[in-house]
Symmetry: C2
Subunit: 113 residues, 2 copies
DNA sequence: TGCACATTTGGTATAATAGCCAATTACTGT
DNA sequence: ACAGTAATTGGCTATTATACCAAATGTGCA
C-alpha cells in the first residue's frame, strides 16, 4: 500500500473508530435535534459522568462534535450533521445482512413465524 | 438508555467497528470493482497473509464481504456495495474538519501556502 | 499417494480501549 | 474567600484488538 493511501485510510479509520461504540452513536443521534450538556447525556446513558465525558472527548477530537461553555455547564452539539448520513448507510448494511439471512432461512423451509 | 436502543446501537457499532481499520477500508475500496483472492490483497497490502485473512474474516462476519472458493484460492467480493456510501460520508466529515481548520488558520492571518 | 500452493487457525506478545473511582479544575452565588 | 455544582483528568484494571510466526487444513495435480 502506498504511503499516500496509508495516510488517507488512517484518517478515515480514525473517524470510523470514533463512531464505533454504542454510546457514542447514541450521543450523536441525540445531538441531532438539540445540543445537550454532559450531565443531560449522562442521565440518558446511565454510565459514570467521567465515562461520558471521555466519549465526548473522542467525538470532539475527531471533528464530530463541538462544545460550548454556558455558565456552569458544557454543551455539546454536532459539528458536522453529515455524520447522520453514516447512520443510514450502516443501517443499510444491517438491513442487507438481515435480508440475506431471511432468504437463507426461507430456502431451508424455515421461517421467522 | 432503553434496552431496545442498546441492542440497536450495538449492532450499528459492530458494523462501524468492522470498518474502523485502515487495512479493512483499503480492502473494501479495492473490492469495489472486482473480487480479489486473499493472495492478491496480501500483495497489495504488504502484511502477513494470516493478518489479511483475519481482516477478511471480520469483514465477512459483519456482512460486508462474502467469499467464494475457486480451485485453490478464495475470492472475496463486496456483499453490500452500500458500504461505499459510508466512505463518502466519512470523507465528508474529514473535509468539514479540514475546512474548519483552514478557516481557523486564515483567521490568524496564516495560510497553507 | 504425495507434493505444492493457498488459506485458515492457534498461540502469543504488545498495544489500545472502556469503565469506574478519586482527585482536580472551572464556574456561580453567597 | 468559601461552598456547591458541573465537568475533566489521572490512575487502575479488565477486556479486546492487532500482528506476527508456526502449524494445520484444503485443493489440484503428477
Amino acid at each position: 500500500m502506498k504511503k499516500f493511501d496509508k495516510v488517507r485510510y488512517q484518517a478515515m479509520a480514525a473517524v470510523s473508530k470514533a463512531l464505533a461504540h454504542p454510546t457514542r452513536l447514541y450521543i450523536v443521534e441525540n445531538l441531532k435535534e438539540k445540543s445537550c450538556s454532559v450531565g443531560e447525556l449522562t442521565d440518558m446513558i446511565g454510565d459514570d459522568i467521567s465515562t461520558v465525558s471521555k466519549h465526548l472527548h473522542i467525538l470532539k477530537q475527531n471533528g464530530i462534535v463541538t462544545d460550548q461553555k454556558q455558565g456552569n455547564q458544557v454543551f455539546y452539539k454536532l459539528l458536522c450533521p453529515c455524520v447522520l448520513n453514516i447512520f443510514n448507510c450502516v443501517l443499510d448494511v444491517i438491513q442487507t445482512n438481515t435480508t440475506t439471512s431471511l432468504n437463507l432461512l426461507s430456502r431451508t423451509g424455515r421461517n421467522i413465524r
